[in-house]
């Protein structure tokens, strides 16, 4: 299911950490909708002939319909979406965003919420806070960052959250004892992780060792499509051949060729963009398909996966 675009203007840009920029977006012709905590929007950035589309968490108050705010970490080694946002977008520019979608909503039945943020992974939790407060929910926020690069909003968070907040600046030697986060926890405690894949994996592994049920751990890993060797897609029904270059994802190449594919997270976790593969060897890079499904090689997630063979015949 594809979603429409909402045109927005960049009203303000603030450097909130050495490597993180915050953008305030104002609606142009459509009012903005309120959203649920943990929601993201997909921002389309057009650079000459290339379209980048990246998902970014909304950090503004979920009930504020006058503007949306997102905060983007500059990734130098990437396909360029964040670099584009940092270097080519100025106040007054127009961007297109999708309506908010949510794949990381709080588990409201939790007796206690333990939030673990790594670097720019603080962003989805910013939209959790107003609702956690409104529901008078019990929560803690553990913020792991490197002050030379990240740590956006740390002072504001420390001030407003008081004892509920703990910051760990690894650039000054502060380390978070993650295993200790699982000790002595009551039934109904849920843990939420957002940050680099390495942090997510570490937290999940330590939780499992402590006997914490897997369904008490919720995470949003910031994975984006990675570059790879160029290859061709062949659309089985029409025979159309679409080139995928090194810096482009399959999904982006399909969209550029005006072949619509339903999508949602664009990061290989939600399963929405799944396509049947007729021929070719898949380079699976997603976190959605099972081991068996990957081995069978009949389905691919075009948002992050690529091809090992020179061609991939997609049955759409």
């Amino acid at each position: 299911m594809s979603v429409d675009s909402i045109a927005v203007t960049v009203a303000a840009i603030v450097q909130v950490a050495p490597a993180i920029r915050e953008f305030t977006l104002l609606p142009i012709d459509q009012p903005l909708l309120p959203f649920s905590p943990g929601s993201h929007v997909v921002v389309s950035m057009i650079d000459e002939h290339k379209v980048f589309k990246n998902a970014y968490s909304l950090i503004s108050h979920p009930w504020d319909t006058t503007s949306y705010r997102i905060a983007i970490r500059r990734q130098d080694i990437s396909r360029g979406g964040s670099l584009f946002m940092h270097e080519n977008v100025a106040v007054g520019d127009t961007l297109n965003i999708t309506p908010p979608a949510n794949m990381f909503a709080p588990q409201w039945f939790a007796k206690k919420h333990v939030l673990i943020a790594g670097g720019v992974g603080i962003t989805p939790f910013m939209s959790y806070l107003p609702e956690l407060k409104r529901r008078e929910a019990d929560f803690e926020l553990h913020y792991l960052y490197r002050s030379q690069l990240t740590g956006a909003y740390k002072d504001e968070l420390a001030k407003t959250l008081g004892a509920r907040y703990r910051g760990y600046d690894s650039d000054t030697g502060e380390r978070c004892d993650i295993a200790a986060l699982f000790a002595q926890r009551m039934l109904g405690t849920h843990f939420y992780i957002c940050g680099p894949e390495s942090l997510v994996k570490c937290v999940k592994d330590l939780a499992a060792e402590s006997g914490v049920p897997a369904s008490a751990i919720h995470y949003e890993a910031f994975s984006a499509p990675q570059p790879g060797t160029p290859f061709d897609i062949v659309i089985k029904s029409t025979g159309q051949v679409i080139a995928v270059d090194a810096q482009q994802s399959m999904l982006e190449a399909l969209e550029a060729a005006e072949v619509a594919v339903a999508n949602l997270c664009r990061g290989g976790v939600c399963g929405q963009c799944a396509c049947r593969v007729d021929q070719g060897e898949i380079d699976h890079r997603d976190s959605f398909l099972s081991k068996a499904e990957k081995k069978a090689g009949a389905t691919v997630m075009p948002c992050v996966s690529r091809a090992i063979s020179k061609q991939l015949v997609i049955d759409i």
Binding site: M1, L33, F35, S36, S39, P100, A101, W108, L264
Partner: protein, 339 residues
Amino acid sequence: MRVAPKEIQTFRDNFTYSNSLDAIKRFPFPFPEDDYRYSVNMEPHEPKGGEGSVYEKFLDIDEHYLSEMNERALVLKSMPHRCLAMDHMELACWDMIERSMVSLANDYPQYFSLSCEGDHWFWENKLLGINDQFIFGDSTTLPRAPLEYIGRQLQGDFAILDQRDGDLFLDAGIITCPADWSLAFDTGMSFTQWHGPVPMAHSEGIFERALKYLTAMPTGKPVRRLNWTLTVNARMDTSPETYHEWGYERTTITPENVAEKVYLRVELQVIDRMPRSHALMFSIRTYLMSLNDIVSNPEWATRLYRVMKTLPEPLINYKGLARYHSTVVDYLSQFDTKS
């Protein structure tokens, strides 16, 4: 041409309910093919069919508005638990209030008006003589619990589904005109569980696909589908709770009265993502049309005959049609254009 709400008619006792010619014209006839099969069959809930069509507005208000609100009030008086909302659904109920009031005020300004000063809201429903003000999000400022408050002003049943763990849960609803299912019993069930009794569709993977589609729905892109059954008399409340009151009616169908007493009952189901709560609002808008009125449209008559003739037995049984199905088929056979 949309017809204004008319005087109150009844869906019980003496059944004074009737459809005007306009109501017949705009009726959502649900069969696109001669064979009926379950399918996910969802389409974007966008305006279709022009001015006055049942698909023109987000919520359809028609000539039966006052009758249906009267009927709802009667049901809730004797069975208040036909409207319930689990505690954690409060925000979702407010989402529904917002969605409904904004669209009704926008789409039917002659009947409804909404003005907001921050979170201080002023709502007028001229059809029911309601003039209220309240603080958005504060249930203590409403004369009734949020779901009941808004549900008593909308045609059709509403269920609100909580989304968690990649599944949907039936955690709130106002259900006074169900096609034979019990909110009280089904409350708290997951998507697959509350669809448990539906035959055939599970093995075809229909519910699995539907669940995947629904859980990925973003805000602002509602979808709709049609569901159908047959009902004896223009009875709105065909609930399990009252089955002992209406069940016998299925034995009263004869070749003489079948056209007048058997109604095609169509549900226009609209599903919309609620922005603040991430819940799904599931509206079940029910349209009743007697066979007499249906066959005034020759194409509908022929199509309905063919669908009824080829309806698989598990569906005949599941929809409760067994006792009078053959009488319906015999009656409709005269309209088959095939010789």
